[in-house]
Symmetry: C2
Subunit: 566 residues, 2 copies
């Protein structure tokens, strides 16, 4: 829904004025539209496009060298007036005549048509090409009745390139018609759009469903269906546009267009599946585009457009252009990079290790097995505790991290790694796969701990205690948390202190660890909320106090699990 | 809400892979991020940026010549792992060292920090610059604790340009820190965002209100307030970032950033007011940008960023760059255009007219006065009739168009126009100001009618009848409607036929017109719905049948009004 409005009556013209101000290098505002702000060769055919507003970047965003010479903009979803079309044309005309391009809607056909008559009476040669790409709007044998949707973009790109190449008006008209004849689109909508100032959407799509073939102003679609996963949606869109593939057509310009409120990330997810589907059908994709090119205010949905290329269309599709929203060609000259071998994606190789240290590594692997079991059991509880102050994913992260660490340490053991290398590999895997802050902390903790161990000697109690000290120091230094910040540090500091004290008192590791583990559990229970931390915190109102910190609790759980293994 | 998903667990990595596939000219996918696909000079400082996913085009969209060398991408709203940061850095490093840039969040500080330590241990010189631009997140005396939001974009742009210019790592680090020190942002949110696969938003903003200072992951803002018009919102944003303006600072890079579900049209409307406000405060705007540069999934809202420039920062802000989402510099060489005088924006000049024709023009102006009065009274009723099959704005359009036509004809009369020129001017004004299909039709109708009149002779009954014939022919030819299509044509055809017949029978114009007007009214009542017309139609389910067509009704109303004037 539109939230930034001054006066709904002037929304479209205010938006156009703001656009023209930002992009003054490209366009100059005239009443009812924009014309190029850059010099155009005298005698060039002018490509002038337009339609209602609410479809940004259509159509003003297309104005610039290599694409349109001007764009006419009506009110939201309403054709520009005849006078506006004529006025913008007079401002942009360069003596080579005008090709007027617009989507096939009654109001536009009328206003552009009447304007064309008026301009012809003034001695300007004007040709009209209406875009009719929407396969959902009429059957294949009634192509002239089809609506224009995202196909506008690819057809206008070709028209602009042909004009920029210096073709005469007959040729620009012919190429533009050819582009339209070979362009097919199909769209789906997940939700409606709301006119500026209106409280309710123009139309709605029932929750959990999508409307197939809906137009860009909420015109009727073919049918509603349940929302499907991205892979199926890709198939549905691809099959619809492939149905009218001309005989022998193989190379295609492809556009996956977002309608306004569909996120780029969603389009990219869909794109992976669309690309695969088209390639499986023997389509060679030529410079595909994914993004918002023809929108419908804040409508949720997308469309797929295919323009079947011949040599001529491909040349114009690929030709350089430079507009506010779309460019081809480089601003800085580049060469492809050589692909670098390695770069850290390969599995680590382990140095030589003694059998004694390898035995230590096996012992550590056994401890990881126990940790995975314990954290798996506690996953839901840890998540529940985390949800009071965080986003509730702590248990999931610990389970995932420990699982990755276990896998890595068993691989390391199988590869002959010593205790130090094996534990380091476990830490790296934990950090890499668990993600987030706790994953980083645990990865760091294990890796720092490993630096006290050795690939030469057997596991040594003194090394293990020194490792605990190093791990705590690195976690505090790099993690930035101090005792009292309600993090794992609150339980880790007393744990290490107790472990070191007990060892200094001469207790064997097993007993020292058990004592430290009990202290750790006590400390975890005692963690209490402090001032909100910076960063990804939930709103204050949702926070709850009086619950232990999930990070401290999971440390205590791990400490107790290890104690049982010693 | 996210609708295009396969597996929520792999949403972020699927989106990154789709992005990398589309933009293969720019980037190459590595595990956890992307690196430049184009060759980079050996020894260049690498600018590597990153953070959680869900902020597209941050951060992968920034990779290309003149900006970033690589981007690391974590899960949605979660820091990338230490291993991912290190891996992407190893893939992108060119021997000149690395400047790591990211927003100031605990998880990112940790993971990028630990990765930097690891890379330094491998002999790579790594510097860290955290972005801290969000003035809402901490007071001015605690700048280091501030979050990074849209300021990421401007700071990374400067860093990338400095590195591309060949500066050494000390200098690139210094310039990047300087850019961050002089960058201030403030944002508002109108609505929450929803994680892929989740049924409910992460947070919500109460309807009709906006949250001031909300972060890009829904972190707490300063306070909620009622949504204000665009002009006030501009003041609020501008005042917040201007509050920390350094002494003497005048020139500024400015970014108005959309958070994901705020439309470009809305941003452009807001931009007009922001630009005015900043200029009134003595700010010189240098190459401002308006659009989506740092988003937060499908969050509604926007932020304003100001980077105060000195000579050095301005040079790097303006330097060429070429990335998937942002470029500076031309792909096609251009010169500014000379602004064309005229072009149809000026008032029309009228040719010589005889006093007799000028008297006819005054008579027509009187008829327009009566039409405006009649259409004003009927506005609501015409809207009601239109709402059954259209969007209910017919009465409004007729009132607006007739009013513009009356204004124009009185101006023409004052300018000495004859009947023909005066009626043509009225038609043009109607079409230009009423907009839409009915505005175009009425403009055409009056203009075609005028072509039978003269600027030399007095109004002549035969000319008037011939004008009706011409008007009908043009409306049918250019409007494309046939009798039975349930348009004004259904009433216009019998009107003209009756008028011509009555005149041929020797009736004076006044009586002939009255007869024709009665026939017209009858025909308007008899209009009945046919098959849905193509184009901006409402869904079938909302259509109602059995009501007369609003266009035919308004023609009958005008005919009756004119009859009373004759």
């Amino acid at each position: 829904m539109t939230k930034i409005v001054d006066d709904p009556e002037t929304f479209a013209s205010s938006a156009l004025a703001g656009f023209a101000s930002v992009y003054r290098r490209y366009v100059r505002l005239v009443r009812g539209g924009v014309v190029r702000a850059t010099a155009v060769p005298a005698g060039k055919v002018s490509v002038i496009v337009g339609g209602g507003s609410g479809h940004y970047p259509a159509f003003a965003g297309y104005v610039g060298p290599g694409m349109a010479d001007a764009a006419v903009a009506g009110e939201i979803f309403a054709s520009p007036s005849t006078a506006a079309v004529a006025r913008v044309c007079r401002n942009a005309e360069q003596g080579g005549g005008i090709v007027l391009g617009f989507g096939n809607y009654a109001g536009d056909v009328l206003n552009f048509g009447v304007a064309a008559e008026r301009l012809r009476a003034e001695g300007i040669d004007v040709r009209i090409v209406t875009v009719t790409d929407d396969v959902a709007s009429a059957p294949a044998d009634s192509r002239l009745q089809r609506r224009g949707i995202a196909g506008d973009f690819v057809v206008f790109k070709v028209a602009g390139a042909a004009a920029e190449a210096g073709l005469g008006i007959d040729e620009v008209e012919r190429v533009t018609r050819l582009a339209n004849d070979r362009t097919f689109s199909f769209g789906v909508a997940f939700g409606g759009c709301t006119l500026p100032g209106a409280a309710e959407p123009l139309f709605t799509v029932p929750k959990g469903t999508m409307a197939l073939g809906l137009g860009i102003h909420g015109e009727p679609g073919i049918r509603d269906t349940d929302i499907v996963p991205a892979g199926e949606l890709a198939k549905l869109l691809a099959d619809a546009v492939l149905a009218e593939r001309p005989a022998g057509a193989r190379r295609a310009a492809v556009l996956l267009n977002g309608l306004g409120a569909t996120k780029y990330e969603e389009l990219f997810v869909l794109w992976g599946a669309v690309e695969e589907r088209l390639q499986a059908s023997g389509v060679d994709l030529v410079a595909p585009e994914v993004g918002e090119y023809v929108t419908s205010l804040d409508m949720q949905g997308c469309s797929l457009t295919v323009m079947w290329l011949d040599e001529e269309l491909e040349r114009y599709w690929l030709a350089p252009c430079d507009t506010p929203v779309f460019r081809r060609g480089e601003t800085i000259r580049t060469e492809p990079a050589a692909v670098r071998a390695g770069g850290g994606d390969e599995a680590p190789a382990f140095g030589l290790a003694t059998p004694a240290s390898q035995a230590g590594a096996r012992c550590l692997a056994g401890i990881l097995d126990a940790m995975v079991a314990a954290l798996g059991e506690a996953e839901a509880e840890l998540g529940r505790i985390d949800a009071f102050a965080g986003d509730g994913d702590h248990g999931q992260g610990m389970r995932r991290g420990a699982g990755a660490a276990r896998e890595a340490i068993h691989q390391a053991v199988a590869g002959g790694a010593g205790a130090r290398s094996a534990l380091a590999a476990a830490g790296d895997a934990w950090a890499d796969r668990a993600g987030g802050t706790s994953g980083a902390i645990w990865g760091l903790l294990l890796r720092s701990w490993s630096s006290a161990l050795s690939d030469d000697r057997a596991l040594d109690d003194g090394d293990i205690v020194r490792g605990a000290h190093l791990a705590l120091a690195d976690v505090m230094r790099l993690g930035g948390a101090k005792p009292g910040d309600k993090t794992l540090v609150d339980a880790f500091v007393p744990f290490v202190a107790a472990l070191e004290t007990a060892r200094a008192d001469g207790l064997p590791l097993k007993e020292a660890w058990r004592k430290a583990s009990a202290v750790c559990e006590e400390a975890a229970r005692a963690t209490a909320p402090l001032a909100p931390r910076l960063g990804r915190a939930r709103p204050l109102a949702e926070r709850s106090i009086g619950h232990p910190d999930a990070g401290a609790v999971s440390l205590a759980l791990v400490a107790a699990t290890v104690a049982a293994c010693l």
